[in-house]
Amino acid sequence: MDALLLQFLNGLDKGGAYALIALGLTLVFGTLGVVNFAHGALFMLGAFCAVTFNKILTLEKVVLDPEQKTAWGTPLEIRTPYVEAWLGDFGAFLLNYSVPVSIIVAIPVMLLIGVVMERGLIKYFYKRPHADQILVTFGLAIVIQEIIKHYYGANPIPQAAPEIVSGSADIGAWFGLAGTIVYPWWRLVFFGFSVVVIGAVFAFLQFTTYGMVVRAGMRDSETVGLLGINIQKRFTVVFGLAAVVAGLAGVMYTPILPPDYHMGMDFLVLSFVVVVVGGMGSLPGAVLAGFMLGILQSFASMNEIKSIFPGIDQIIIYLVAVIILLTMPRGLMGREGVMEE
């Protein structure tokens, strides 16, 4: 029973991540109709916002100590981080909270990246075939990746969660069953965060005319323009929003998955599957599919199930995707006519 509950928690957490990544993708893909293969790169850039922020905080003053030598005979370097040297305790506090604090940095940075990307490149591709969009965004993703690789290397760069949430929460204890359900605080934080972000995006797009205008613009931007609406601007905003959501997901995921330059590609295929299983053009669909696949994947990985179907955990997502797409023509909640050609 605890095992099941724990797996359910895992599923929620994973689902939160999938949903969050898919959410940004579905904005661009399901709403603007751009097959954005660079979405994973945006996720990765978010994570690297956290890395960079941390790097800046830990910039070190290097003093050479001619007395001591390294194993290869050069003088030993003595390093002290500037922030700590200048700001003392506050510096240490900043360092400790560098991941959550970097959200503040990531929002404007990702917004800027998103806007520049849309203005500079994507906007010329709204009317182009999907194939062209794939090629250009894939090219862009490679370029972004390689730039990151050039500056940060290929090795993962660990990011620590703040100390206060680095341990585990004894959830069982809240219900008088101490020690049975123990779950890392950061994962709970991540889950909560994803729910909040998803909620905020929903509120913005589902329940306001803004969302309707954007959907309309995606169907027929010319006619929407004829009604006096500057649809280009709204596309830019939506794209920027998608970049921010992807970036925030990246930032918050760093303590769970030490980021490297390739992490975007690793998530790319999965996020496309989530979006399509959810149904094109549907935000709730993408979120639902994210959680559903996350939870199913967790359960499929249980030893009891793996022993009956070896390898099921490796293919469960694709298997479920196939079953859903075959039984429901437009995924879970897809709209008719979106990307069916």
Partner: protein
């Protein structure tokens, strides 16, 4: 007729026989994909080795190597040149790259790589083409076991040796009454390592609670980690490498496994195969975790010191185990040519088979003729609790002597195949 046929028209005795004043080696390393940093380090080591072979620089391990055949004038008087390629850590790409080196660049020896799949694939290719392959980083038993090849040699240790070396230390440090839970990367290397460690620990009286296979590149391992907590196991063994290991370890620590008490004992995590680059990726979480490694720059013997010195001076930081392996492999090949007095592969193979040497950083070493596996001391290491620098991540717990890890070649089967001369 196409021009390229002309090259074959030389009365070539064997594939890519060096005829001019130079000899070309092929360095096939991962330059993209997850192991790109490792590949970059390997390439640095190769470049250093070439320098030393050609008599430039301080000579590095040339000075400590027990065989004194190398004179710093290239190989057999021919200047060493090299070509590079990207394996992408994919067998297909690695083979394509190796083929380019053989067919286009005239490489007489191929070396490098950072995974067993690539090593086995390229080794097979080299066997078919009659080119010597000096494996880079490959830890699977298969490379010199069931997939061993006459033209392939491995300086790196393997999973079996990791198990043999690690087992007694685990028993010593963690006690004999332990229950282990394995998480294993679901492919050949993972399986051989799981098997080796399982055998070694079970022989010492440990129980195995479960051994669970995890998909390669799973990213989030939480669904495999939570069952560990309630399984009654008190040791978690992560048979993962690279990114998978960094992720699973980070997440295991997040799940509070380091602080846990099970059966009145501290819960422990073991990572049988370590590398410094991985340790860097895992950050704080690596501290105090036990594992094995092929070589570490903190070793105090002359050879290691000499190598660290020349590498550090050249690049400003110490070499990784991958770098050391690749450096040594290059020197060993060159030395074998010198001793054989020829580049002819069968003769070089003969010179390498059963070769005993010292002064390459791992103590006395043997290239066993029966399977081309090299036998030397194995390092049991631990994540350093108090690193003195950003490179000082691993602390050597024990140097396990070579006898303790030597095994009967028959247990892994395989056939070396013939050592005939091939033209290309």
């Amino acid at each position: 007729a196409p021009m390229s046929f002309v090259r074959g028209a030389y009365a070539e005795e064997f594939c890519n026989m060096p005829t001019g004043s130079t000899v070309t080696l092929g360095f096939n390393v991962p330059q993209s994909g997850p192991y790109a940093d490792e590949g970059a380090d390997e390439l640095r080591a190769y470049q250093l080795a070439v320098k030393h072979l050609n008599g430039e620089g301080d000579g590095g391990m040339l000075n400590t190597f027990s065989s004194k055949a190398l004179k710093g004038n290239g190989i057999l008087g021919k200047k060493v040149e090299y070509v590079t390629g990207d394996t992408q850590t994919k067998s297909d790409a690695a083979r394509a790259s190796a083929k380019r080196m053989i067919e286009k660049d005239g490489a007489i020896m191929i070396t490098g790589g950072s995974s067993s799949g690539v090593a086995v694939a390229v080794q097979g290719l080299c066997q078919e083409n009659g080119i010597i392959f000096m494996a880079g980083l490959t830890h699977s038993n298969d490379t010199t076991g069931k997939d061993k090849k006459r033209f392939g040699f491995r300086h790196f240790f393997n999973a079996y040796m990791s198990g043999q070396a690690l087992g007694p230390i685990l028993a010593e440090q963690l006690g004999k009454d332990r229950t282990a839970y394995h998480l294993t990367a679901d492919y050949t290397w993972g399986w051989t390592q799981e098997e080796s460690i399982k055998n070694a620990t079970e022989n010492l009286g440990w129980n195995t609670a479960n051994a669970v296979r995890t998909p390669l590149g799973a990213g989030d391992f939480s669904q495999y980690l939570t069952p560990v907590l309630n399984s009654g196991a008190d040791v978690l063994i992560l048979n993962h490498y690279g990114k998978d290991m960094v992720n699973s370890l980070t997440q295991a620590v997040q799940f509070g496994m380091r602080e846990k008490q099970v059966n009145g004992k501290n819960f422990e995590i073991v990572v049988p195969l370590f590398s410094r680059l991985m340790a860097q990726g895992a950050g704080e979480n690596i501290k105090g975790i036990l594992g094995t490694t092929n070589w570490n720059w903190s070793l105090q013997d002359d050879a290691s010191q000499a190598f660290v010195k020349s590498f550090g001076q050249e690049y400003g930081f110490p070499p990784s185990q991958a770098a050391q392996t690749c450096y040594v492999q290059t020197l060993l090949y060159a030395d074998a040519c010198e001793r054989a007095g020829a580049f002819t592969p069968p003769q070089v193979i003969e010179a390498l088979e059963g070769f005993e040497f010292d002064g390459m950083g791992n103590g006395p070493t043997l290239y066993r003729a029966a399977d081309h596996q090299c036998f030397k001391d194995v390092l049991v290491v631990k994540g350093n609790e108090n690193p003195t620098s950003q490179f000082d991540l691993l602390e050597v717990v024990k140097i396990v002597p070579r006898d303790q890890v030597t095994y009967d070649p028959a247990i892994f089967g395989g056939e070396l195949g013939p050592a005939d001369v091939k033209k290309c």
